[in-house]
């Protein structure tokens, strides 16, 4: 096996225990830089728990997370974001009372250089930074097609627009790895199609490594190069879409193979 430093994101035998419940156990993940990787599995399989461990919301019971070779296990979420991991949420978590533009601007805040004093006195460095932030934020909104609603409150957006705003906000943090938690949830087929195109575009334009959670198998099959399948907190398969599609354990987990799938 090649060196761990070649990979953008590495999870080594992660276990997450909530009291007596093992939400995830023995979870391994290797994602190459620039990959579009899928993490799939039925409801309650532990996909979001994995995301929460990677992004620092949860501290894993065992195991470690490495980002480009550096251990980031147990760091605070904001520190992990600063090191280049951005995420979206399964249930949309926008800053509802802020405008669409402000939501994206918040994403820029962590890369600020100007101190509080400079901001309060509106010194040149702060003003320049603010102008730059404004410019890149507007560009990001253009990329996701929200430039016309930039001054609306985030809560006034339609569901599909809110999903896209979450992606734009995550991109504003200038991430190297982007975690998308069920970005297509609740979207109609046309919107889903658009979104898949957006994800592919974004990866190429921003040189991102993307880890994508999807509940629907169909969505990931089209765009992910490799994927891991989780069921009951355990990895049951790993491979390319065609390998996964023909994997018997995966089919059983999805169609309900009962006791056979569960060792």
């Amino acid at each position: 096996m090649s060196n761990a430093n070649d990979f953008a994101l590495v999870c080594e035998s992660i276990a997450m225990q909530f009291g007596g419940l093992a939400a995830v156990s023995n979870f391994d993940l290797l994602i190459r830089e620039g990959a579009l990787y899928g993490l799939i599995g039925p409801n309650g399989a532990g996909k979001t728990t994995v995301f929460n461990v990677i992004s620092g919301v949860l501290n894993p019971t065992r195991g470690s997370v490495k980002l480009f070779g550096t251990d980031i296990t147990g760091l605070n979420p904001d520190e992990i974001a600063r090191r280049g991991v951005a995420r979206t949420f399964q249930s949309i978590r926008l800053f509802r009372n802020l405008t669409v533009l402000e939501n994206v601007l918040v994403g820029h805040h962590l890369r600020r250089e100007a101190t509080l004093g400079e901001a309060l006195l509106a010194l040149p460095r702060y003003r320049k930074e603010e102008q730059d932030m404004m410019k890149t934020s507007k560009e990001l909104l253009q990329d996701v097609g929200l430039e016309d609603v930039a001054h609306y409150r985030a809560s006034a957006l339609s569901y599909g627009q809110q999903r896209r705003l979450e992606i734009a906000r995550a991109l504003a943090t200038k991430p190297r790895v982007l975690l998308l938690d069920e970005p297509a949830a609740g979207m109609n087929p046309a919107e889903t199609e658009q979104l898949m195109q957006l994800i592919l575009d974004v990866r190429d334009r921003f040189n991102l490594t993307i880890l994508l959670i999807e509940h629907e198998m169909k969505v990931v099959m089209n765009i992910c190069e490799r994927m891991t399948v989780l069921d009951h907190g355990q990895i049951i398969a790993e491979g390319s879409p065609s390998e996964i599609q023909s994997n018997e354990r995966v089919i059983k987990a999805y169609l309900g193979g009962g006791a056979i799938a569960r060792h």
Binding site: N97, L105, V106, H108, L116
Partner: protein
């Protein structure tokens, strides 16, 4: 292009200076021409504007429900009082337990004393805030409320520093309209700059969704402390101004109702609105005085009505309920009154009444 911009800057600075000049001329006129009672109400208005804005920063903009404002005001008031009183007055006031050295022999000017008050209450704010902001919502409220009570009890018992329950008398009456309204202006300016900056957006992000804010790289501890400390500093300086306005302070002034008054001002104006705080703080302060008339005995239509102490509080509660019913988010919600809102209003007026497209 750059010439235009610098012209624009000169123009804006000119307007600002002219407005300031007019403002201070008005203050000069009021300070010298009006009677002491009205001047005092205006002094109180300005002080409450500053303190309400501080509370609004913490509770409204950053969404940290803090109830410790009276405690920070007490710290500020005592700091300023002990630094500005003359050694002779101190010796006369501390007749049971003498004041400790070096406080008993120093007397500072008002400005350094106020700055010190801000500094000390900011430090206390950090000491309280740093552990307390791990809590959320009601729990944070209870913790900070407890802190304010602790401050009061401590001040009642450290007789050789605060003169205990007897309080301090004979504070130099330094506070006048220049001091109080300059304080209010600085607070308004500080809040406007802060809330419109990148830091302010981060605070609002924390209020709306802590988990998402942290995932976007906003350091929760730093930003919550920031809101807490600045809020405490504003309350501290405001407390100092208040002490030297009424010239007598004692620990019982800084009980929970004081926090409640300030909280009421912020809620009435709208949590998250600077203009709202300014309007509500002024309105409530003035109304508190005007409604005193209700508590005086009087004869109406030949019937003698005895004055009922506390009547104005009843009226206030009713007014508060009415406002909460009809304006659940306060007068202003989280909007601001700015030049833009006037232009928008004018445009809407033209659209509706003159049927013109603008």
């Amino acid at each position: 292009m750059s010439g235009n911009r610098s012209n624009d800057f000169v123009r804006k600075a000119g307007i600002a200076l002219a407005l300031l000049l007019v403002f201070y001329l008005c203050i000069y006129w009021v300070q010298t021409g009006w009677d002491a009672y009205k001047v005092r109400i205006l002094n109180l208005s300005a002080i409450y504007i500053g303190i309400t804005l501080g509370l609004n920063l913490c509770n409204g903009f950053a969404g940290q429900f803090s109830l410790g404002i009276a405690g920070f005001m007490a710290v500020g008031a005592y700091t300023t009082a002990l630094l500005t009183m003359s050694p002779q007055t101190k010796a006369a006031v501390f007749f049971i337990d003498p004041l400790i050295w070096p406080l008993n022999s120093i007397q500072w000017g008002f400005l350094p004393a106020l700055l010190m008050a801000g500094l000390v209450s900011g430090l206390v704010g950090f000491a309280v805030g740093a552990p307390a902001i791990r809590f959320r919502d009601d729990y944070l409220g209870i913790t900070t409320l407890g802190f304010a009570e602790i401050i009061r009890v401590v001040f009642t018992n450290t007789r050789s520093i605060t003169n205990g329950a007897l309080g301090l008398k004979g504070l130099p009456p330094h506070t006048n309209l220049y001091w109080s309204w300059t304080f209010a202006l600085i607070c308004i300016l500080l809040m406007t700059r802060l809330t419109n900056s990148s830091y302010g957006r981060a605070l609002k992000a924390i209020r709306d969704d802590e988990v998402a804010a942290e995932a976007m790289g906003v350091n929760l501890f730093y930003h919550k402390c920031l809101a807490f400390v600045i809020s405490a500093m504003m309350a501290g300086v405001g407390g100092g101004l208040l002490g030297n306005l009424i010239t007598t302070i004692d620990p019982n002034m800084f009980r929970f109702p004081l926090t409640f008054t300030v909280l009421m001002m912020a809620v009435l104006g709208g949590l998250g609105s600077i203009t709202g705080s300014v309007i509500a703080a002024t309105l409530v302060t003035v109304a508190m005085e005007v409604l005193r008339a209700l508590e005086e005995p009087r004869v109406i239509l030949g019937v003698f009505l005895p004055g009922i102490p506390g009547m104005r509080m009843v009226v206030f509660s009713i007014a508060l309920m009415v406002v909460i019913l009809f304006y659940p988010k306060g007068f202003m919600g989280d909007r601001e009154l700015s030049r833009d809102s006037f232009t928008n209003l004018a445009a809407r007026f033209r659209r509706t009444f003159l049927h013109k497209q603008v």
